[in-house]
Amino acid sequence: MNIDDLAQLEPLKFETRRHFFSKCAIGLGGIALSSLLRGGSELSAAAAESSAASGLKRTHHRARAKNVIHLFMAGGPSQLELWDYKPKLVEYSGQPIPESMLKGKRFAFMDSSFKNRSTLLGTRRRFDRHGQSGAWVSELFPHMAARVDDITLVKSCATNLFNHAPAKLFMNTGSGQFGRPSMGSWVTYGIGSESRDLPGFVVLQSGPRGPRGGAVNWASGFLPTTYQGVPLRSTGEPILNLSTPGEVSETRQRRTIEAVRQLNLARLVETGDPEISTRIAAYEMAYRMQSSAPELIDISGESKATLGLYGIEDGKPSFARNCLLARRLVERGVRFVQLYHTNWDSHGGPGETLETDLEKVCHDVDQGCAALVQDLKARGLLDDTLVMWGGEFGRTPMGESREKTGRNHHVDAFTMWFAGGGVKSGAIVGETDELGFGAVNDRAHVHDLHATILHLLGLDHTKLTFRFQGRDFRLTDVEGDVILKMLA
């Protein structure tokens, strides 16, 4: 008998809690109660604050997507080597930058590294048209080239901040400052998660190092920490302290946790503190995670064909393996999965060249990305799952010469792609000028992308709010328009 069954057998205690919560009139308490009664996994907000305003757990309108998988290409991939084919840039390669393009623009390292020295840089990569949509894709993405009819390419993405850590925060939270909730936190706060056994927001990492900024990228900011992303470790135990101490059997562990639950419940009734209901739920989730997390990462049951599709080499942590885990996570009802892969920072210095290093990092991700879209589609999961791919910004049409060739950070135009979850298949949204400096139509600012993602999940970005320090905050701040052209 598991803890949930036990709970069902204790109507009296639940009656007591029902009584308490009804008297208490804290909206949050109600949510916690329903979650406990259902054995659901929304560890509802402990901080009772403002939950009444927006602890929705239901959508504003019909959702097109249930889950999100965000493939975060940390460092800023060069759209000009990958997706945004600019023959004119090749033609003018080596020439000075037209003054009109620079006016009023700001770039990282603006004075120190290139203003007077750099010139336009045409790509040296071969581009071809692919699929029904005829989208241009570079030779660096052979697998993704075969999937262009499943995705919408947005070539007119724009952001505000041009340094890595703040720009990553901006892509995640809509703000460059610390302390705001990330997208995954907003979404799980807004509509909860369908996973009973795993956290609603899970983070996976691959590449030579972690993303700059680290845990703030998936922090819940002023939202209760229940909604923060939980990183799964790629080696060893996926979560620290996941295993029961060696000499404690599974039954004994369960019995211990059950006694903790009963005593905490008694204390909840005694004190009336909703924080205790959150703790009870946290223990239940912790207990379930002890078996669900090892089961999740055990991919030995996956077929040879599936492993081959992703290009997974036995047991080794990799981006491809994380893509497969992402599929397994959404299969298990996890709402928001974020994969970080480093390093896309192609300045031209050691380890950052557009020549060999970009090729390597593209190779790291290409097959996994394509396999994920294909696998989700084959399993009928793509309709409900929004997959998004992109970095925190793009790269300049100008070259940057360090030891070898690179490009600098660019905020005014970069490419992201989206698949499934109610976005068009085989579409291209937005277009940049012929040198790739900025969008000439359908500019898709980060706030607009956030608004669109929430829209697909059935949430109105102007209504998903949290009152903090006397103000209602949103993921999109006071900006953001849904990009209608992306919608299927």
Binding site: E237, T256, T271
Partner: protein, 736 residues
């Protein structure tokens, strides 16, 4: 002009439940944001409340004069009466005792300490307990941590390399200063400019470690000046947050968007901090320091002498250099890496010696040299060091940086303070010491308010001003403005004595209320802003550990000294870019208070961070109180937590009495200070029965693990489960 960031703005739609005063402020903000031309002309002209000197309000009259014990209570009660609310009943004596122990010294009462209080029937028993606790050396540990959060204290350099550093003498100074109730104004001056005080003492110099708690980037190829400037930026921002409660750091790149602080004023403050050297100070008598230096010099000449006798050593050294993996290379000190980076024929003598020393000390082929060297070094007295600030004789040139970018300096800037605050005295020296004295001047409208508010926040879970780090125009208004001002002026009148402030708060009736939820309040004051009851507060990360140590009886109460290495899960240290060693402490150091756990910024001890210990990257003026499954996993499964449970079980069997009931009471009481209710006993008794049944009927592997002190293995294992349960209770890690 395009704004750099989209700073939050308010929309009319989101104002619905914001008080009128705030609405007015909001509309002003909208005007500020809406315009395109010069910002300064659009700032609110009336002085923001927090920039005006606090008046001394008289405590209001209240109708229920019985309830009030001191002036705090009259302010709180007056507001409650205005809202037709009544205060809660007083907490029971056990709850109050445990609350006081946890709040004042961060440890739960031992049974004898508790009994002493419960037996004391004198009318001032409570007040005398407060006195005893304020006199306890553990008071300084508990409240020292409060200050170390603000000081962003850690034991490593941060950034990606995150090498260990020695600055724990500063931590111990904080503990000593608080235990001695050093007046807060002196406490501040010592930390900001102790080195510049006339006849500065060793203690005052150690105190300047406050602003050495910035990160140091030791990556290769960086521009050192860039990171020196970054740490000065941090010092300016931290000074603003810590002592003024203002977001001055916002003005690094542009004029503050909401508060009257210009970018130029940011650099005027920067100028105060830009003139310090950042040395390490040895902490030993001069003759010992000399002796140590002499022995190091002997080692240097020993190594210098090696190639004379053994010229082939150079070739072996170069071969060794070549053989290093990138990770091994990265692990070398910056000096060594810089030596490696120069081709051998071009290396200076000094660089050759640096590389040779690394080779001699690290490579196994040099065993005999190594033993000669360590023989010499054994004579060397161990000298601890600590990081301090030391003012340069000639100030550095400080310039305004365009957009906060150090590569874009503009005109020179002289030290100065924001015009909106009290003036900098013309007679004061325009340096760090002058700034420190300006901050603690009685004219400063902010420091006392900001400080009392942060102390208050620890006792009630929320400050009188909720935005404890922002007293500017974007901050929230105080819930009890008069009380805040009264406390601030009282703090100054009591010669900045923190202990007096603690005494005042801890002895108030407001503080002594029960924390039970009250149905009748849930609709009118769901967040308990008016304090018609106390609040239950989950304990701070270090105190969660301390309670486990104390309940299990493992606690080592020794004060101070170098940081220690309690057990932690495998694999934590490999999460950083450079894998640092974590050599688990043996003996009593394994059981020191959480305050003393070595804090690596890049890879903090997981049981601290999971309970929201601050990351120490920047100043932290309020901790979050999260409540997550990861905390449950830590308390259930962490090897350190399990060790507490085993020890509590053993102690219960050995000392807890003869019957199960006595033993259950004993174990329960050690965790939460009270006896279990009948219902609670029943749950635990049932668990004990089930455990014993399973453990004795099945042939468990448990029986091969004998209990300590000859305890019966089955019984010990069953009681370990009981101990795990009580150590995992919400109440155990909560201040009721």
């Amino acid at each position: 002009m395009r704004p750099e960031f989209n700073k939050p703005r308010r929309t009319a739609a989101s104002n619905s439940s914001i008080p009128l005063v705030l609405m007015l402020l909001l509309s002003l903000d909208l005007q500020i944001e809406g315009g395109e031309s010069s910002k300064s002309s659009k700032r609110p002209t009336e002085k923001h409340w927090a920039f005006a000197h606090p008046p001394r309000p008289a405590p209001p009259l209240v109708s229920n004069s019985q309830w009030s014990r001191n002036s705090i209570d009259r302010f709180i009660l007056a507001r409650l009466e205005k809202e037709r609310m009544t205060p809660a009943v007083e907490g029971d004596r056990v709850t109050l005792a445990r609350r006081l122990f946890l709040d004042l010294i961060g440890l739960p009462p031992t049974q004898s300490e508790l009994d002493r209080f419960l037996r004391d029937k004198a009318p001032d028993a409570y007040e005398r307990l407060v006195e005893r606790l304020l006199e306890s050396p553990h008071y300084g540990e508990r409240w020292g941590r409060w200050w170390l959060d603000i000081a962003r204290y850690a034991d490593s350099n941060g950034y990606s390399i995150d090498a260990p550093r020695s600055i724990w003498p500063y931590r111990d100074w904080v503990v000593r200063a608080l235990n001695g109730d050093l007046p807060f104004d002196e406490f501040v001056v010592s930390q900001l400019a102790g080195d510049m005080l006339p006849e500065a003492t060793l203690e005052q110099k150690i105190a300047t470690g406050f602003h050495r708690n910035t990160q140091i980037n030791q990556e290769g190829g960086i521009d050192k000046e860039q990171f020196r400037i970054d740490s000065v930026f941090d010092r300016v921002g931290t000074t603003g947050t810590a002592f003024l409660g203002l977001t001055i750091a916002c003005a690094q790149c542009h004029d503050h968007k909401f508060d009257p602080i210009t970018q130029k004023e940011f650099y005027q403050l920067f100028a105060f901090f830009n003139n310090a050297e950042e040395p390490e100070m040895p902490l030993a008598p001069a003759n010992q320091i000399d002796q140590a230096a002499r022995i190091e010099a002997e080692v240097v000449s020993y190594i210098k002498d090696i190639p004379r006798k053994d010229p082939a050593i150079w070739n072996r050294m170069l071969a060794w250099e070549q053989s290093l993996t990138p990770a091994q290379r990265q692990a070398q000190t910056e000096q060594v890496r810089m030596a490696f980076d120069v081709q051998f024929p071009l290396r200076s003598e000094e660089k050759k010696l640096t590389a040779l020393t690394a080779f001699i000390e690290q490579d196994a082929s040099n065993k005999s040299h190594q033993s000669d060297i360590s023989k010499k070094r054994r004579q060397k007295p161990a000298i601890e060091t600590t990081m301090i600030l030391r003012e340069l004789p000639e100030p550095r040139d400080t310039r305004f940086f365009i957009k906060g970018d150090f590569t874009r300096p503009r005109e020179p800037v002289k030290p100065g303070v924001p015009a909106v605050l009290h003036p900098f005295p013309t007679s004061a020296p325009p340096n760090r010491l002058g700034l420190a004295r300006w901050l603690v001047s009685p004219e400063n409208p902010l420091m006392a308010r900001v400080t009392v508010n942060r102390v208050w926040q620890h006792y009630f879970g929320r400050g009188l001003v909720e935005t404890e780090n922002d007293f500017g125009t974007q901050g929230s208004l105080p819930t009890h403005p008069q009380l805040l001002d009264w406390l601030a002026t009282e703090f100054v009148a009591k010669k900045w004595s923190l202990k007096s402030l603690h005494r005042l708060i801890a002895c108030s009736s407001t503080y002594r209320q029960s924390s039970r939820a009250r149905d009748e309040l849930s609709a009118v004051d769901p967040y308990n802003r008016l304090l018609a009851r106390q609040s239950r507060l989950r304990l701070d990360a270090e105190v969660v550990r301390d309670v486990g140590l104390s309940a299990s009886g493992l606690l080592n109460r020794r004060l101070g000294g170098p940081p220690v290495f309690p057990p932690q899960p495998d694999g934590v240290m490999s999460l950083g870019q450079v894998k640092r060693e974590w050599k688990t402490s043996a003996g009593e150091d394994r059981f020191r208070r959480g305050l003393y756990t070595f804090f690596f910024r890049a890879t903090p001890h997981p049981s601290l961070s999971v309970f929201d210990a601050p990351d120490s990257f920047s100043t932290c003026t309020r901790r979050l109180r999260s409540n997550t499954p990861l905390q449950a996993l830590t308390l259930l499964n962490d090897s350190g937590a399990y060790e507490f449970a085993r020890e509590l079980a053993a102690r219960t069997l050995l000392e807890g009495g003869a019957t199960d009931t006595q033993r259950l009471n004993y174990a329960f009481q050690r965790c939460v200070s009270r006896a279990p209710t009948a219902n609670e006993s029943e749950v635990l008794t049932a668990l004990l029965k089930d455990e014993l049944k399973e453990l004795s009927s099945t042939p468990p592997k448990i029986q091969s693990i004998p209990g300590p002190n000859g305890l019966n293995a089955t019984e010990f294992a069953a009681w370990t489960s009981i101990a795990r349960v009580v150590l995992n209770l919400d109440e155990t890690i909560t201040r009721e």
